[in-house]
C-alpha cells in the first residue's frame, strides 16, 4: 500500500445502544484498486460504509479522501468531494426517466448555479449536453440503452442494480462504494456487473465493494478486507485471505473450519 492512499480510515468505532457494530477499524484503499470488504452478517460492513459516505455518524474515528478530512461532513458533501455510493436496498428515482436518473447524479458536480440553469445559460446547456452524452454512454455499458426515455419503475430488480451502478459512475468520482452490487442478481447479470466494474476501474475509478458473494469478490478484487464483529480479522490478497483459518472460522464456525482445514491438508 502506498504512503498516501486514496481513502484512509482511522480508528472507526460505532455503537448502537451498547452493541459495538464497528470496533476501532483502521484501513486504507489505494488509488486505482478494487478492494473487497467482506464478513459474515452483522460484522459491520454496512455500518462502515454508511459512516465513510456520511450517512451515519460514528462515535470515534476519522477518514480522509486524498488527504482531505471528511469526518463529520454531511452525506451530500461526501458525494461532492468524490465519494459515490450505491445502497443495499436498490434505490432509483422511480417515476423519472433513466436519463434523468443519471443526469441527477452529476448535476451537483458541474458547477452550474441555480441562476444559470433557470436562465438556461450557455454553461447550463453545455453541462446538460455533456451529462446526456455521458448518460447514454453508461446506459450502453450496462445494456439499458433501449430504456433511456422510460421511467425507472419499469426496470427489473437486476436492471435497477445496473442503473444504480451506472449512476454512481456518472460524476467520475474518485471512489465508488458499492453495497452488495450482485445480491439477488442472476448469473448473467452478475457477469455484466463484473464487466462494468472492470471497465470503470480501467478508466481510473477506485472501488470499494461490500459483497456476500465471495467468488465475485475473489475474481474482481486485488485486495480484500475481512471484518468480524466490527474488527478487522484479516487483510490481503484474495488467495491468502481465503486460506486464513480465522476467516474460515468466522464464516463457517469453528468446528467445520477445522474439518475444512484438515481436508485441505
Amino acid at each position: 500500500m502506498t504512503a498516501d492512499p486514496l481513502l484512509a480510515v482511522r480508528g472507526l468505532t460505532k455503537t448502537y445502544y451498547g452493541l459495538t457494530a464497528v470496533d476501532d477499524l483502521t484501513f486504507a484503499v489505494a488509488a486505482g484498486t478494487i478492494v473487497g470488504l467482506i464478513g459474515p452478517n452483522g460484522s459491520g460492513k454496512s455500518t462502515t460504509i454508511d459512516c465513510i459516505s456520511g450517512f451515519q455518524r460514528p462515535d470515534v474515528g476519522r477518514w480522509f479522501l486524498r488527504g482531505t478530512e471528511l469526518t463529520g461532513r454531511p452525506a451530500h458533501a461526501h458525494a461532492r468531494a468524490g465519494v459515490a455510493r450505491t445502497f443495499q436496498t436498490v434505490r432509483a428515482y422511480e417515476t423519472l426517466t433513466l436519463l434523468d436518473n443519471l443526469r441527477l447524479a452529476v448535476q451537483e458536480h458541474d458547477g452550474v448555479t441555480w441562476w444559470q440553469s433557470l436562465a438556461r445559460s450557455v454553461s447550463w446547456r453545455d453541462a446538460e449536453a455533456e451529462a446526456t452524452a455521458r448518460a447514454h454512454e453508461l446506459l450502453g455499458v450496462v445494456g439499458l440503452t433501449n430504456y433511456a426515455g422510460a421511467p425507472a419503475e419499469i426496470l427489473s430488480y437486476g436492471q435497477r442494480k445496473l442503473l444504480t451502478i451506472a449512476a454512481s459512475m456518472m460524476a467520475r468520482p474518485a471512489l465508488v462504494v458499492l453495497d452488495e452490487p450482485v445480491a439477488g442478481v442472476n448469473p448473467t447479470m452478475i457477469r455484466r456487473v463484473e464487466e462494468v466494474i472492470r471497465r470503470v476501474n480501467a478508466e481510473g475509478v477506485t472501488l470499494l465493494i461490500v459483497e456476500h458473494n465471495v467468488d465475485f469478490i475473489m475474481r474482481l478484487c486485488g485486495h480484500v478486507i475481512v471484518l468480524d464483529a466490527g474488527k478487522k480479522l484479516a487483510e490481503g490478497e484474495p488467495a491468502e485471505v481465503r486460506g486464513d483459518p480465522r476467516v474460515l472460522a468466522a464464516y463457517l464456525g469453528r468446528g467445520r473450519a477445522s474439518r475444512e482445514a484438515a481436508r485441505r491438508d
Binding site: H76, A79, R85, R91, Y93, T95, E108, W124, I154
Partner: protein, 324 residues
C-alpha cells in the same frame, strides 16, 4: 414530451384560456369576480404544488403565507401610505422570510416536523390576527381598503376600482407567477426537488443538499402566495382574521390532490375547475354543496393519483407494452 403529457398540457392550457377570456367577454361584474377568484386560486394551488407536489413537504402554512401577505400589504397601504404595487411585493417578502425561518428550524428534525409546525403556524397566525387588536383591529379587521391607482401611459393614474380592471391586474400577476414556477419546476432545480421527494438518501448520495432545495421551494411558494394574498384583499376591500380560514387550506389541498401532485398543468386545470365549480352548481341552491362533494368524490375515485397521476400511469403502461 409524451402524447399523454401533451394532452394534459392541452387540457390545462384550454381551461386556462377559457378562464382568461371569460370575464373579458361576458358582461357584468360577476364573471370578473369569479375570474379574480380563479386566478388567485391558480397561484395558491401552484404554490402548494411546488412545496407538496414537487418537493414532498405537506405544508399547512400556505394559508398563513396568504394571510400574512394580505395583512402586511393592507397595513403598509393604510398606515404607511405605501402604494399597493410596492406593498403587495413586501407582503410576499415578509411571508417568504417567515416561511424560511419556520422551515429552517423544523426541517432540521424531519419533514413530518415541518408539517406539524406549518399547521401550528397557520393556527398561530389566526390567533395573532384576532388578538393583537392594536395592530390588526382584531375581529373587526381593516375595512375600506382603498382602490389602488395604476399609472397607464396616455391615461394618467387610473383607479383600479372595478372588478373588470382588477381582474386584469390579478391575471397579469398570476401569469407571471405561474410562468416563473413553470420555469423553476421544469429546470434541473425542479428535477432535484422531485429527486428529493422520491428518494432523499439517493439524492444526498448524488450530492444534492435537501435542505437548501427545500428552503428554495418554500421561499418561492411563500413569496408568490403572500403576493397573491396582498392583491386579493384589495379586491375584497377588507382584511380580517377570516383570511386565515381553514377553507383556503382545504381548497388548495383539494386542487393539488385532484390535479395530481407534481403535475403543473394538472393542478392549474384543477384550480380553474374547482374554483368555478361551486358557481357552476348554483342552479340548485339547496344541493349545491352536496353536488360539490359528489363531484370531488367521483374525481378521487376516477383519478386516485389525480389527473397527473393518471397520465403518469398511462405513460408507464405504454412503455410496458412497447418493451414487452
Amino acid at each position: 414530451m409524451t402524447a399523454a403529457g401533451r394532452a394534459a398540457r392541452a387540457l390545462g392550457v384550454s381551461a386556462a384560456v377559457l378562464a382568461l377570456l371569460g370575464p373579458l367577454l361576458l358582461p357584468g361584474e360577476y364573471p370578473a369576480t369569479l375570474g379574480i377568484s380563479i386566478a388567485t386560486f391558480a397561484v395558491l394551488a401552484t404554490g402548494l404544488n411546488l412545496v407538496y407536489g414537487y418537493t414532498g413537504l405537506l405544508s399547512f402554512a400556505q394559508v398563513a403565507f396568504f394571510g400574512i401577505g394580505a395583512y402586511t400589504s393592507a397595513l403598509l397601504v393604510v398606515q404607511r401610505g405605501w402604494s399597493l404595487w410596492v406593498a403587495f411585493v413586501a407582503g410576499g417578502i415578509v411571508a417568504a422570510l417567515l416561511g424560511l425561518v419556520v422551515a429552517h428550524a423544523s426541517l432540521r428534525l424531519s419533514r413530518h416536523a415541518f408539517s406539524i409546525v406549518s399547521l401550528s403556524l397557520a393556527l398561530l397566525c389566526l390567533i395573532v390576527a384576532r388578538d393583537w387588536v392594536s395592530l390588526t383591529r382584531g375581529p373587526m379587521g381593516l375595512p375600506g381598503l382603498p382602490a389602488p391607482r395604476l399609472l397607464v401611459p396616455g391615461l394618467g393614474a387610473v383607479a383600479v376600482d372595478r372588478p373588470g380592471v382588477f381582474y386584469g391586474v390579478v391575471l397579469a400577476f398570476a401569469v407571471v407567477a405561474l410562468a416563473a414556477t413553470h420555469r423553476l419546476v421544469h429546470s434541473r432545480v425542479g428535477r432535484a426537488l422531485v429527486a428529493i421527494k422520491l428518494n432523499e438518501a439517493l439524492a444526498q448520495s448524488h450530492g444534492v443538499d435537501p435542505l437548501r432545495y427545500r428552503l428554495l421551494a418554500i421561499g418561492v411558494s411563500a413569496l408568490l402566495t403572500g403576493m397573491a394574498g396582498g392583491l386579493f384583499v384589495f379586491h375584497l376591500t377588507i382584511v380580517d382574521p377570516s383570511i386565515f380560514d381553514f377553507y383556503y387550506t382545504e381548497t388548495m389541498l383539494i386542487m393539488v390532490i385532484t390535479g395530481g401532485p407534481g403535475s403543473f398543468w394538472g393542478v392549474v386545470g384543477a384550480a380553474v375547475v374547482i374554483s368555478a365549480l361551486p358557481d357552476l352548481l348554483r342552479f340548485s341552491t339547496d344541493l349545491r354543496m352536496v353536488l360539490y362533494g359528489i363531484v370531488l368524490i367521483a374525481a378521487v375515485l376516477a383519478f386516485p393519483g389525480g389527473v397527473g397521476g393518471w397520465i403518469a400511469r398511462r405513460r408507464l403502461l405504454r412503455w410496458r407494452r412497447a418493451l414487452s
